[in-house]
Assembly symmetry: C2
């Protein structure tokens, strides 16, 4: 469940959000977007947790991969519903991972 990413450098997209109470299609489309992201070139992994605040970090090989995923039609439509229906507030941060360390076992 901790993403097994390659040696840096690579990129992280940090998506932080607060939800509305609207559950309509939220879990279904969320799961679909994860499946779709996994198929994108340059996708390296994803980590996600939610209490009140949700923090989802996806990892990508480079900015080009992030841009392609951002332009994916299904992803665009999902983000539009997200902004209108599911998220009260959100922030996206695009960051270049320069260094990492930790335990090897998952």
């Amino acid at each position: 469940m901790i993403a097994k990413t390659p040696k840096p450098p690579y990129y992280a997209v940090i998506f932080s959000s607060l939800r509305t109470e609207n559950e309509s299609d939220y879990h279904e489309i969320g799961a679909l977007m994860v499946e779709l992201a996994k198929k994108q070139q340059g996708f390296l992994g994803i980590e996600s947790a939610r209490n009140d605040l949700g923090v989802t970090v996806s990892y990508w090989s480079d900015l080009e991969a992030i841009k392609s995923w951002k332009n994916n039609t299904e992803h665009r439509l999902a983000r539009e519903r997200g902004r209108k229906e599911w998220y009260r507030s959100f922030k996206v941060r695009i960051a270049k991972v320069e260094r990492d360390y930790g335990t090897e076992i998952n």
Copy 2:
């Protein structure tokens, strides 16, 4: 609860972890570390969520601020207990936030 960070560039430390079942002092020291981090020069904010996986992202002005916090004695002792007692597995990623966007309301 979504961190109000300044305009990029700034840094993110992404801490991803899986817990053991050892609860001894975990919440107390965790809360203490957040309070202590907030007092460090260059600290910009923190976002955290946990289900099975925990994802905590702290934001910092620069690498020097991250290094100072890493060398803080109380933080060192807490990390040592974390490795021995609280975390089955973890990963730390240090990343430079190059771009961010989102809603303004929290």
